[in-house]
């Protein structure tokens, strides 16, 4: 392991510090404590959001019931973009402050972000068939969502191809940041490309006045997606922390404690 023994064994200082939870040793128990509340919030919000969306929200005047996929589609599309920005943020923090945990956070978020992008594309295709009559159009938003999906894939593929975790972290961070700079450029280029070609024949924006229950359902689902993302990222980052730090003292103590708990029970 390339970790310096200093950071691995130093006892956490008692004073408040911005970097107090930047060490895996201190963050691991915190992540464990946050896990259950996050899951409960995610499940509760999902149930509330789906109930609002499928049973309370009125049927759309022009699209019938097919519009109801919006309650999954729009939160997924939002999350796919937000997660990429959060990922790039953690990568930048990692490169600037040289904190290992930031890179772990970033690689824990990537699969979930890719999943949201995929869900947004998939549900978009399913929604497009009844409303536009086709599964796919080269609309600006669809195209940039597809490219965002490829950016996630590139980040994960690069990390997977490098064996040394330190190099994998930093190389992945660089491509994530370059990608984040590119995302707005790609979005506007695709938008101009499309308007030059065929004009705004297809627009994703719904009727201007959206029923308030529709909006409520969508917001509930968006918050549920946030909670789910946080929860699943915490699970994944805990696994990454244990895997990467398996040779350090605190993980060994963790293992001993778990064994002791097992023998007691």
């Amino acid at each position: 392991m390339s970790d310096s023994p200093l950071t691995a064994t130093r006892a956490p200082s008692s004073g408040f510090s911005l970097f107090y939870y930047a060490s895996p040793q201190t963050f691991f128990p915190l992540a464990g404590k946050l896990l259950w509340p996050t899951w409960i919030i995610a499940i509760a919000l999902t149930i509330a959001g789906l109930y609002t969306g499928f049973f309370i929200a009125p049927t759309d005047a022009t699209q019938g019931d097919s519009y109801r996929i919006i309650f999954i589609h729009v939160p997924a599309a939002w999350m796919s973009m937000v997660v990429y920005l959060v990922m790039a943020f953690w990568c930048a923090v990692g490169l600037i402050f040289n904190t290992r945990l930031s890179f772990m956070m970033s690689s824990a978020l990537a699969p979930t972000g890719a999943m949201w992008a995929f869900i947004a594309l998939w549900t978009g295709a399913l929604w497009g068939k009844p409303t536009w009559g086709t599964y796919w159009v080269w609309d600006a938003r669809l195209t940039s969502e597809l490219i965002l999906f490829f950016l996630y894939c590139g980040y994960m593929a690069l990390q997977a191809a490098i064996d040394d975790p330190r190099r994998a972290d930093r190389a992945g961070a660089l491509i994530a940041i370059v990608g984040a700079i590119n995302v707005p450029i790609i979005y506007f280029s695709v938008k101009w490309w499309n308007t030059l070609h065929q004009g705004a024949s297809v627009s994703l924006t719904q009727s201007p006045s959206m029923a308030s229950t529709m909006l409520t359902g969508m917001l509930l689902m968006a918050l549920a997606a946030w909670a789910y993302t946080i929860g699943v990222a915490l699970v994944r980052v805990r696994a990454i922390m244990i895997e990467r730090e398996r040779n350090t003292d605190w993980v060994r103590q963790l293992g001993n404690a778990a064994q002791a708990g097992d023998s007691k029970a």
Partner: protein
């Protein structure tokens, strides 16, 4: 700094001159790929002139992708790269020099050969000139972005496919503005906006890519 830049460019050009076949591979690939399209989509002149700009641009992307993975390879193999990293000279300038030489060897020939392909695809003289102009402004951006991918994937297994996955999404704006210029001109809109946007992309790439590529090389050789 300028003398450093010039000497890096001269060195890479000289090395390429000693191994000329390497340079011609990308050019041959470009010619071959564009010649395959009429065989695939049919020889109707109107259809060909309609798709010409897009085909030439996609072929240029692929030709760049094919050759850019070798940008730092020989330097890494013979230890030159290590010396470059250790030297007191600024690494981004060295990278910029290498990319410049690389573009002169693979990007510029594409621009020069493009009129020939324009003939094959039934383009008029004006249209050919437009495609050449966009390629002239656009291909340096391709080389610069490709250099970032090349330095990130240096010495990795499956580097070729990986660099495609990393770099191709970043090429999208260049492709759109490059290939779109001809359509805009045909629609009577003029090509100034497209050329201006391509130049803007080039300027951003000039500012960011050498730094990013130098950082990636340091990460790779850590």
């Amino acid at each position: 700094m300028l003398s450093l830049f010039v000497s890096v460019v001269r060195r890479d050009l000289l090395l390429a001159w000693r191994r000329r076949s390497d340079v011609l591979t990308a050019l041959g690939f470009f010619l071959l790929v564009t010649s395959l399209f009429p065989l695939g989509v049919g020889p109707e002149p109107e259809q060909l002139s309609h798709i010409a700009a897009g085909v030439m641009w996609v072929a240029a992307l692929l030709a760049t992708l094919l050759s850019v993975s070798r940008l730092f390879e020989s330097d890494e193999a013979d230890g030159t790269l290590e010396q470059m990293l250790l030297s007191v000279e600024p690494l981004p300038v060295i990278v910029l020099g290498k990319v410049c030489a690389y573009w002169l060897l693979t990007g510029l020939p594409l621009v020069v050969i493009a009129p020939l392909i324009g003939l094959q695809f039934n383009l008029s003289a004006d249209e050919t000139l437009i495609v050449c102009a966009t390629l002239l402004v656009g291909t340096p951006s391709l080389s610069l972005l490709g250099a970032v991918g090349a330095s990130l994937t240096l010495g990795l297994r499956g580097g070729g496919a990986l660099i495609a996955l990393l770099v191709l999404p970043l090429y999208v704006p260049v492709l759109i503005f490059g290939a779109g210029a001809l359509d805009a001109w045909r629609a009577g809109l003029g090509i100034q906006s497209h050329l201006a946007l391509l130049s803007a992309v080039l300027l951003v790439a000039l500012a960011v890519c050498p730094l990013a590529s130098a950082t990636a090389l340091r990460i790779a050789q850590d």
